[in-house]
Amino acid sequence: MGRASAHPGAALGCLTVADTVDGAALTAWVQEFARLVHEQRDALTELDAAIGDADHGTNLDRGLAAAVSALDTEAPADPAAVLKAVATTLIRTVGGASGPLYGTFFLRASSALGEGDGAALAVAMRAGLEGVAARGKAEPGDKTMLDALGPACDALDEALTANRPLDEALRAAAEGAARGRDATVPMVARKGRASYLGERSAGHQDPGATSATMLMEAAATALAGRG
């Protein structure tokens, strides 16, 4: 399913800021996210076992497989419809906290997605981030997926403002997410199931921030070289 490998060398052609982010590109993003989560399913579940209830990898893998298959069947043409189909499928199939949270991310991103270029994608991702914060009533530093999504969106905005091409900007976003993910290790969880451990949650990497980093890495891989 790795779409990036289907476009070898395409990144060479990506020199403008006005990269196109069309339905096919967003579908490739979701497919790559699904592939990463499937590959890392047991690792995600193991992180969750340490401070949660050992189901994050299994649940997200099940939901993303359903989302990929929904995109295969429906093949929505317009970009916003792709994100909305993913949102609906995740909300319908995942359950737990990650279903509503990732579902809300894609739903808000879908509503906010304007004309398909890098800037529009950044606006959509920021809207998704805000949706997650509202649904989960979480703030930065609570040891949640927000701690990866926040730095990712900041890095994306900053790179695009500096007129860097979309693939570079998305790579910066993925690096921002990874830094944010790593920073969750010493945090004491204030939201989600890990919060019940209090001080004992410190010293463990947050599973939600880990999967959120995969979401941004998937964007960097799948959307690079488009346009």
């Binding site: 209830d53 737990g96 906290a97 509503p100 199931r193 451990l197 004992r200």
Partner: protein, 333 residues
């Protein structure tokens, strides 16, 4: 992993087939994974819907029937149900008097029930009120955290609010009773072993023979602290003390004392624990008006127990004593 299963992916669906086969008085929607009492919706009665992850049996499907829940949604193991399931359950129990959602305070449960209530509000005239249970004193409550977990008191809420609905109270009245039970109930749990989520294949955490986890929830998540194993008398104190410290249980009409097994602890030990709890309460001058001892809210095969105390009044005791006819609780009917 040694379990009586066929395929880890099908555990919930196959268990629901068994529930349907064992209980013809229940109706199971296998597509949505919702268990209904057979005569739902009951015209003119407030409908009660609860649900949550599977792995806590008999909660919640075991509490569906006259005098308790009208429907229960079964999520994946330890994973809350999705909004579609809650919507299907809510529609199916709406007898025209509104529907009460009984939701345990866990992030996933709260969000999925909230989304379902939003969907219901957008599409129909059904009035939905949610009561969120949060009785676990192991969790420090604050504005900045997810708050306390909903554990043992949930079953007392379902029984007592279920009786209130059966007796014809309107939605506001049933919700008020449910909130009063939650507000007057406190719990604390201990785990002697971990448990194995079928899809994960191995225990959620390692717990050495001589250690126990104090302050656990119901999902095999580790507790607040790990301490050396102790005699039951001391464990009972570790559980009851923080409960009594959190709420004044003296006065009133006594308490409903609930000693709950986590799934892997024999009834022999639960009764032994009940004796210890009763002795502590007697010393504290707290009368036990009613009790419940058994494995009603489990965490798969985890060994351990929880203690829930509910400060009762006349009305709550009357509703507790009212007839109930469900697979797991049955009296007076």
């Amino acid at each position: 992993m040694k379990k009586l299963i066929n395929d880890p992916a099908n555990v919930v669906a196959e268990a629901l087939r068994g529930i349907a086969a064992a209980h013809p008085e229940l109706r199971v929607d296998h597509a949505q994974r919702v268990v209904f009492r057979d005569d739902a919706p009951v015209r003119g009665k407030v409908g009660l819907v609860s649900g949550g992850g599977s792995g806590h049996e008999p909660m919640h499907a075991g509490f569906v029937g006259p005098g308790m829940l009208d429907a229960a949604c079964a999520g994946e193991v330890f994973t809350s149900p999705v909004p579609d399931q809650v919507v299907a359950a809510t529609r199916g129990v709406d007898g025209g008097a509104g529907v009460l959602h009984v939701v345990k305070n866990y992030t996933g449960d709260v969000m999925n029930f909230e989304m379902a209530a939003e969907l219901m509000a957008a599409e129909s005239g059904t009035e939905v009120v949610a009561v969120v249970t949060d009785d676990d004193v192991a969790v420090q409550d604050s504005l900045y955290t997810a708050g306390r977990r909903g554990v043992g008191v949930t079953i007392l809420v379902e029984k007592i609010a279920g009786a209130a609905a059966e007796q014809g109270l309107p939605l506001t009245g049933v919700a008020e009773v449910a909130r009063r039970v939650n507000g007057n109930g406190r719990s604390m749990g201990v785990a002697l072993t971990s448990c194995t989520v079928p899809a994960a294949g191995r225990p959620t955490f390692d717990l050495p023979e001589d250690q126990m986890e104090i302050g656990i929830g119901i999902h095999g998540e580790p507790g607040r602290r790990r301490v050396p194993l102790a005699p039951a008398r001391e464990i009972a104190e570790m559980l009851v003390e923080p409960v009594l410290a959190d709420l004044d249980f003296t006065g009133g009409d006594g308490v409903i004392a609930f000693v709950n097994g986590m799934g892997g602890t024999p009834l022999l030990e639960l009764y032994l624990m009940y004796a210890e709890v009763a002795a502590i309460l007697e010393k504290a001058g707290i009368g036990i008006a009613r009790n419940l001892v058994g494995s009603y809210m489990t965490s798969l095969e985890m060994a351990g127990c929880s203690v829930t105390l509910l400060k009762a009044d006349d009305e709550l005791l009357r509703l507790w004593d009212a007839p109930v006819r469900t697979p797991a609780l049955r009296w007076g009917a």
